[in-house]
Amino acid sequence: MGIGQDEPRDENLMAQIATGDEMAFRQLIERHQDRVYGTVAKMLGGTGPDVEELAQEIFLRVWRAAPRYQVKAKFTTWLMTITRNLVFTFFESKKNRRNELAVQALAGEEDFGTAREASLSRTAADELSGKELAEAVEKACAELPHGQRMVVHLRQYEGMEFEEIAKAMGMSLTAVKALMFRARENLREKLSGYFRASN
């Protein structure tokens, strides 16, 4: 997702977008679509129409906010702030629905606890298929509370610094680090069987 020397910076594109330049908007979308789409998908626990719609809405908000955009932080931090706000609003609106996308997409035939126990009882000689491992990791991530999931994603997949994550999440640095710590403990616990099996 690097920017070439001849390509305009995000801030310049935003200035063009503020004047109603759709080509600049297209360029900005193409530059950041994987980042936004991937983040929404990871937060919701899979791909689907909701993911696409939310990701599109994020970019539409960027368009609407362009005339008032000021360079106060890195563009990607601002973009992730919008992403976080929309995703969390989405979760809030679905709070009372038990079939939240994250659960929908990841609810397999068996409960995760059962799967974990099965993995623990597996002998070291058993082979873990890539698919099985991926599913377990996805499931473990999807079971993290929203804040922890977001912090893990921004750190692990977007390579953001803790300071940037704190800005994007609207939290203190300490709070973000605490979330990361709890996420790590949760993931370790949920995936302990796989550590053992892969050793």
């Binding site: 979308i29 991937g38 696409e52 008032r68 106060k72 919008i82 692990q156 997949y157 710590f181 790590r184």
Partner: protein, 108 residues
């Protein structure tokens, strides 16, 4: 918070990072940008149409006119001498500024 966290062990650890790296986030579909732009154009067209085919800015102007009128009538009927206009406008300005900042950070 326990000792390990306080000592700056902040990442996920090599093992977990390795596991998570095996499941990268999905990429946006090829048509994503085109669909987003189409949605934007549809939204623009809808906004241009406005309510009862009257452009939205005219409704806004009419609404603003009504507010000014009502405010003026109320002031005329109930003149206040406690706070000066300058104080009121200063307070309003700071409220607007604060709201703008908040909306900017919320990406609105």
């Amino acid at each position: 918070m326990n000792k390990r966290n306080d000592q700056g062990d902040e990442g996920l650890g090599r093992e977990l990072e390795g596991l998570l790296a095996s499941v990268p986030p999905p990429k946006a579909p090829a048509w994503f940008a085109a669909k987003t732009l189409a949605k934007l154009r549809a939204e623009k067209a809808e906004r241009r149409g406005g309510w009862l085919r009257i452009p939205q800015w005219k409704w806004l102007a009419a609404g603003l006119g009504m507010v000014v009128l009502v405010f003026g009538v109320m002031r005329w009927n109930h003149p206040t001498d406690g706070i000066s206009d300058a104080e009121v406008f200063a307070a309003l300005n700071s409220l607007v500024q604060e709201d703008e900042d908040r909306r900017w950070w919320a990406g609105l």
